[in-house]
């Protein structure tokens, strides 16, 4: 028992180094992971799809997709996998770790970039490094899909307008015969340059054990 515990701690230490989470947070997330996976080693899309609370999220597909996207797991691979282990799960979660008072400006900048990359990857479903109009449209459509009677036309129109905006911000000198083929990451950064992300892309991962709350929640 003691041995396994130290092994677990050792493992946690590794994960903590990699992701920056505290032990408590990792423990909490691990419990959640097991709960989601049904005590398996890995988690599959179907596990996540079945989370009831997620059912109403308009961009559920993208969010779940992001967990299985290798680009979000700090590995230099692309493509997506069908199963992820706890480590990968944690890696994806670590994108949303809030900064603390000791975080330096450069670190904040890196964190911001990671978050942007995460968003970008949610758009860029075919891994080619650009968000094409079709990809953008799809996301916007999904985004608006729960908003009632807004037709696809609207979504398209908005995506188009947004795309135009990107194009005009980034390539002001484009001639009429040129074609803006898609948003690259640099352009993506550029358009969201002024957007405040500090307060929007962070989750306060709980330190305390909230398994009881969690149970209540997952049943709800």
């Amino acid at each position: 028992m003691g041995a396994s515990q130290t092994r677990a701690e050792h493992q946690y230490q590794d994960l903590a180094d990699k992701t920056g989470f505290s032990f408590e947070q990792i423990k909490n997330l691990f419990q959640r992971f097991q709960q989601l996976s049904g005590n398996e080693e890995t988690i599959s899309r179907a596990n996540l799809d079945s989370i009831p609370a997620l059912a109403n999220n308009p961009i559920r597909k993208q969010i779940i997709g992001a967990f299985f996207d290798k680009r979000n797991q700090h590995q230099d691979e692309v493509g997506s996998c069908d199963q992820i282990g706890f480590e990968q799960f944690l890696m994806v979660m670590s994108h949303f770790r809030p900064p603390n008072l000791r975080t330096t400006d450069e670190e904040k900048e890196t964190m911001r970039k990671e978050k942007l990359r995460f968003l970008f990857n949610m758009h860029d479903s075919d891994n080619d490094g650009t968000i094409t109009l079709a990809e953008y449209r799809k996301v916007v459509e999904e985004l608006l899909s729960k908003s009632g009677e807004i037709g696809q036309e609207t979504a398209k129109a908005i995506a188009d307008a947004a795309m135009l905006e990107v194009a005009s911000i980034n390539v002001p000198n484009m001639g009429p015969e040129e074609f803006y083929e898609g948003i690259t990451f640099e352009h993506f950064e550029e358009i969201l340059k002024g957007l405040e992300m500090e307060s929007r892309m962070h989750i306060r991962f709980l330190d305390v054990d909230t398994s009881t709350m969690r149970c209540g929640k997952s049943q709800s």
Binding site: A53, N57, M93, M122, L143, T154, E196, E198, R214
Partner: protein, 812 residues
């Protein structure tokens, strides 16, 4: 420079005129009416001529004056006018208010007026009786703050806001009260007769912060929204807490002995009062929202409901002696969202204006009287007590922020750093509320004059010293800032995406926190509340509404562009320019002409790009009224631009500005620099010269709405209420359908340049078709099937993102 001077003299003139007027008026006041709650002062008759005839005459009087009858409203009116003139005065020269907060200026003017009144031995107005203040002056101020509270950031930070407002105020009151009580024990100061209760009462009064000045500074330099909202919310709820404490201590100060059980009763009462106010507020808020659901037929009185319900909430809360401030604040917060969707755009503007107006009048008056009273009342000066009050107020505020932040930080996603804390602590100005509270202290408190003096001191000190220095300081320490002006579709889309992502991730890790609750509330809101409370209850995504808004703005810009025939919106132009300059010879166009354009722009145009509502200063209205004003201006300028002189070559379609330039055509041929200056002088010959045209342009706003195609586009996308324009829109539409075949083509090209609008119909459509054809050839249809109206991005990349109207294909 001479302009400034003349302005200043103007200001002085205004002030003096008014002073004399005031003085003159008070000179003939015959006798004061008795009555306890007069708002205005008993003013001694100045041996002036008796205003009304003697009673014994039985004849029919030819000329009578009954001043006593109108005295109170008359004098109130004069005071309000005087204060408002003062306000106009220092807004004439705008830069003053940037560096010196308005409250400082108001107090200064109050001081001057007070000085004059003192020198002529006029008694100060005893404006602030307790009832007058609590029933008439306070509600508008809080309604103002509550109604314009930025909702989203508020709820995101509600914990911190309440923490600082409630605990912070308690901390300050008790801390300052206790330490002052300790000071009172020192014999040297000679204030041993002030007991603990009175000290606490006084401490409560001066712990009401009122950082109007700070807020406007924060807003100007767009400090990060967490800090902003905490200061904002703190001042709001801290008023509530202060008033509750004030009433409690006022009561306690009367009691000969305070038993321990009274403390517990006090705490219980505190909670009852707070939550009672909250409950009443929510109740009345929903009732108000529900009522406005049925007011579509009586638009004239729509705004009235808002005021009546909030006032009712306030009064009912007063009736039960629960926190009326809480009630009115929650009431306005609750109803705002629903009401603004229910009422028409006009009513909405009216509501905002009136709320602002009442609030700022109230506050102006209080500050103004603060100045007057400072000079004219009897002061009791006690160095020791007053200096220690100042000191403790600072120390406890600083300590409080420091300690409370340490406690709240672990619970915040984004902790407050030292700079934020400094901003918080330094933003603790005292203001109108403190003054009013101390002035309405009951007379049986022995040291009331001392309290009044001390409070005035601390207000003057904080308002002047901190108020003036906070801008440079905040800029100097470089507090984290938030860019609030991102008004792009991408930003909106992505903040939505981020919100949903966050909610999703929180669901995934099974945590309940902010995003989770927000998500749940929004769903509940859409499913239940909106159905009940809102007439047209289709939920509208914020993306869509932003999109509409941008479209609207752009339509405005296009129209603006069309107007002065060269007042091209810079964004369009610069994009265009850059593109051209990469081409060939167009460089010439750049420097002088562009400068010229900017001149004209700065003179003629509103800053349309300004974000509309966002945050609102306490003294300025959100400027969403611009849109309509722009429409009106449009009307004039369109007419103006139809002058013959403005088209040098009638054959050349102006719309070339917006299209990519046909190859080989020189830009200069279309924008001869000379034309840049033509605009302004010939307004006089507007419509008269074109009687034939008037038939089409009879109604200005309609004519401009004709140009507003993007709106109609949007109608197809979503529900009708394209707010301010819908009325015009409808008319415009009906006309359009009834008009000839050319309408379809002009539909498709919004920025229809002026000449198109008035040129012979076939000519118009013909040239338009040519243009379009040429254009389409250029772009070559891309593989994607063109959506009925959306443009393909590629060619538009050259233009302002939203200016795609020229390229819209006509509906098939």
């Amino acid at each position: 420079m001479d302009i400034n001077i003349s302005r200043r003299t103007g200001v002085l003139l205004i002030i003096f005129t008014f002073l004399s007027l005031l003085h003159g008026s008070s000179g003939e006041i015959p006798s004061k009416p008795t009555g306890g709650v007069t708002i205005l002062p008993p003013v001694k008759p100045d041996n002036g001529p008796q205003a009304f005839p003697d009673a014994e005459k039985a004849n029919l009087p030819v000329f009578t004056m009954d001043y006593a009858r109108i005295q109170i409203p008359f004098e109130i009116t004069l005071w309000v006018l005087l204060a408002s003139f003062a306000k106009i005065g220092f807004h004439v020269y705008h830069k003053i208010t940037i560096w010196v907060p308005e409250s400082c200026l108001l107090i200064s003017i109050g001081l001057i007026v007070g000085g004059i009144m003192y020198s002529v031995h006029e008694e100060p107005p005893a404006v602030l009786t307790s009832n007058a203040f609590f029933l008439y002056m306070l509600p508008p101020i809080v309604l103002d703050s509550g109604y314009f509270m930025p909702t989203r950031p508020f709820f995101e930070n509600i914990g911190t806001v309440l923490w600082f407002a409630v605990v912070g105020t308690l901390w300050n009151s008790i801390g300052i009260g206790m330490s002052l009580f300790a000071i009172c024990q020192i014999e040297a100061f000679g204030v041993q007769d002030i007991n603990l209760q009175e000290n606490l009462l006084f401490a409560t009064i001066i712990s009401a912060v009122d950082p109007v000045a700070v807020l406007s500074v924060f807003e100007d330099i767009s400090v990060n929204e967490q800090l902003y909202i905490v200061v904002f919310g703190e001042c709001l709820f801290n008023d509530a807490v202060t008033v509750v404490l004030y009433n409690m201590f006022n009561f306690v100060a009367d009691m000969p002995v305070v038993e321990p059980v009274d403390v517990f009763l006090g705490v219980a009462r505190f909670l009852v009062v707070g939550f009672g106010g909250l409950g009443f507020g929510i109740l009345f808020g929903f009732v108000a929202a529900f009522t406005t659901r049925f007011t579509s037929r009586v638009k004239e009185i729509e705004p009235l409901f808002i005021f009546m319900y909030s006032y009712l909430a306030y009064l009912v809360a007063e009736l039960f002696a629960i926190s009326s401030i809480m009630a009115i604040v929650t009431c306005s917060l609750t109803m705002k969202y629903y009401v603004e969707e229910n009422v028409s755009q006009r009513s909405c503007t009216t509501i905002r204006h009136v709320v602002k107006m009442l609030g700022s009048i109230s506050e102006t008056l209080i500050f103004f009287f603060l100045g007057v009273v400072t000079i004219t009342t009897e002061h009791e000066w006690n160095w020791g007590y007053i200096l220690f009050t100042l000191l403790f107020a600072f120390v406890w505020r600083g300590l409080g922020v420091l300690v409370l932040t340490q406690i709240i930080n672990p619970f915040r996603t984004i902790p407050f750093n030292m700079k934020d804390q400094f901003g918080l602590a330094y933003g603790g100005l005292r203001g109108a509320i403190s003054f009013a509270l101390v002035f309405t202290l009951p007379d049986h408190i022995g040291r009331k004059p001392l309290f009044v003096t001390a409070t005035i001191c601390i207000i003057l000190f904080t308002v002047f010293l901190q108020g003036i220095s906070i801008r440079p300081l905040i800029e100097f320490i470089n507090v984290r800032r938030t860019n609030r002006d991102l008004d792009t579709i991408n930003a909106e889309v992505h903040s939505r995406i981020m919100e949903h992502t966050m909610a999703g991730i929180e669901d995934l890790c099974g945590q309940w926190s902010h995003f989770y609750w927000k998500d749940k509330f929004l769903r509940f809101n859409n499913l239940v509340l909106r159905r009940i409370l809102i007439r047209d209850n289709r939920a509208e995504s914020s993306i869509v509404s932003l999109y509409k808004k941008l479209e609207l703005q752009n339509a405005m810009e296009i129209l603006d562009t069309v107007t002065g025939d060269i007042t091209v919106v810079p964004s369009i132009l610069s994009i265009y320019e850059e593109k051209k300059s990469s081409g060939k010879p167009k460089k010439k166009f750049q420097a002088p002409d562009l400068k010229n354009m900017h001149d004209i722009l700065s003179k003629n145009m509103y800053r349309i790009r300004q974000r509309t509502v966002a945050y609102t200063t306490k003294h300025a209205l959100p400027n969403d009224s611009h849109a309509r004003e722009i429409l009106i201006r449009r009307h004039t300028s369109i007419r103006r631009s139809m002058r013959p002189g403005s088209f040098q070559a009638p054959g050349v379609p102006k719309s070339h500005k917006y299209f990519s330039l046909p190859a080989g055509e020189s830009l200069d041929s279309k924008f001869p620099p000379g034309r840049l200056s033509v605009t302004d002088d010939e307004e006089t010959m507007s419509e008269m010269a074109y009687p034939s045209r008037r038939s089409r342009f009879g109604q200005p706003s309609r004519s401009s709405s004709r140009g507003m195609m993007p709106l109609r586009r949007l109608d197809t996308l979503t529900e009708a209420s394209v707010d301010m324009l819908d009325e015009n829109q409808r008319r415009g539409t009906s006309r359009k359908t009834s008009s000839s075949s050319s309408s379809s083509s002009s539909d498709s090209r919004i920025p229809a340049p002026p000449h198109q609008l008035h040129s012979p119909v076939d000519n118009d459509s013909g040239s338009a078709d040519n243009l379009r054809n040429g254009h389409e050839e250029e772009e070559g249809e891309p593989s994607l099937p063109p959506p009925s109206w959306a443009v393909e991005p590629r060619d538009n990349a050259t233009q302002n993102p939203l200016l795609r109207r020229p390229q819209w294909n006509p509906k098939k």
